[in-house]
Amino acid sequence: MQSLAKLLEAALFAASRPLTLEELASLDATAGEAAVRDALADLRSAYGDEHGVELVEIAEGWQFLTRREYAETIERAQFALRPRRLSPAALETLAIIAYRQPVGRLEVDEIRGVDSGAVMDKLVERGLIEVVTRGEGLGRPLLYGTTPSFQEILGLKNLEDLPRLEELSVALRRPTPVDEPE
């Protein structure tokens, strides 16, 4: 393995979160992003099927993760535990925010048909959504978006990894803003 790949391997091993391409490139000022990308590809194939961990592209970065087939055994031994599952209300709220971001609380309430304030507070607390900007409307409402942690807990490479709305069985164009008369 080239020395750049070894350096990346060490950094990814040391980090407890996904590292982005820019972060990895900062390790070696002489190597360009293209070289880092190549080295990452080498590293991923070097791990291939021969190891219990693999290099995974996740949350706009890279991370070593254990292979799925060992999850149960590791959990039974209590070396690591699967995170608690998100409630349906939390997933609903996340789905709306992921596709409509930046989006305000009123719009989330309107789509879900229920008050979502408490759920959104919880999601902010868990670091899955955050205030990204303020809206133009009355009172300049806080607008929310998803965080890198959101992509991380879903194992998304990036937000484009979410299914496209046209791919869903209930295809629906993004509705026009609510300015139509009642």
Partner: protein, 238 residues
């Protein structure tokens, strides 16, 4: 719990009124874009009544909306009226949108489950549940909540308590009159006929008081035997 429609619905299953509506639509296998609004509205009302959800504002608001659409559908319209706008249109749009969200929820749930089977380095045990965030409510919310709680408080049961002071002086006078007449007499004579609880207590305290003052002597031939009251031999003043 069984709703009148003959199917089983559980409160926890629904994350809101739209979810419940979708459930009813699926149960009835009706076309979402041509909603039989009268039927769905009736089912919605009976289910929220059965589940006790008719107190929840979100569900009530939807119930009101359904009834309004039902009424609008009954209004006559002229044939070939191009101006006519289906009163269900907005609801159908929202239902379709919500159905899409539900589909995304399934997708996100599966993605999260798959990700949860891979552990990264630096595992940390999940933190315990954080205490609930401080409440953010305005005065009107608080007052409305207080009124709901107050409405649940049952009417208190009131009892009138009448003070009935013991008539120790009266009993003392009666016993002293008896003592003046007779040297010895029994409890039943001291209490008098048809004695109430108050009379019994008054007489008993009067007897003890008189015994303390050495005006009389109390004796019983055996434990729990009838009480005999005897005039005390007056002592020389000390």
């Amino acid at each position: 719990m069984t709703a009148t429609g003959g199917f089983v619905v559980e409160l926890d299953k629904f994350s809101g009124p739209l979810d419940l509506l979708l459930h009813l639509i699926k149960e009835d296998e009706v076309d979402i874009t041509d909603l039989p609004i009268a039927k769905i509205a009736d089912q919605f009302l009976s289910v929220i009544a059965d589940l006790g959800l008719n107190q929840a504002a979100d569900y009530l608001e939807m119930a009101a909306r359904l009834l309004r659409i039902k009424a609008q559908m009954l209004l006559p319209r002229r044939l070939g009226d191009d101006e006519w706008e289906d009163p269900r249109a907005e609801l159908v749009r929202r239902l379709l949108e919500y159905q899409q969200i539900r589909e995304l929820v399934d997708w996100l749930g599966h993605a999260a489950d798959a990700r949860a089977e891979r552990f990264g380095r630096g595992y940390e045990a999940p933190p315990p549940d954080a205490p609930p965030a401080p409440l953010q409510i305005d005065l009107n919310d608080l007052l409305a909540a207080a009124e709901r709680v107050i409405a649940l408080i049952p009417e208190p049961m009131l009892h009138r308590v009448v003070p009935r002071p013991l008539d120790v002086e009266g009993a003392t006078a009666r016993i002293e009159a008896l003592l003046a007449e007779r040297e010895t007499f029994g409890w039943s004579e001291a209490v008098g006929p048809q004695a109430t609880l108050v009379d019994v207590l008054s007489t008993f305290i009067a007897l003890l008081e008189l015994a303390k003052r050495s005006s009389l002597m109390l004796s019983q031939s055996e434990p729990f035997g009838p009480m005999v009251i005897t005039r005390a031999i007056p002592r020389e003043a000390a």
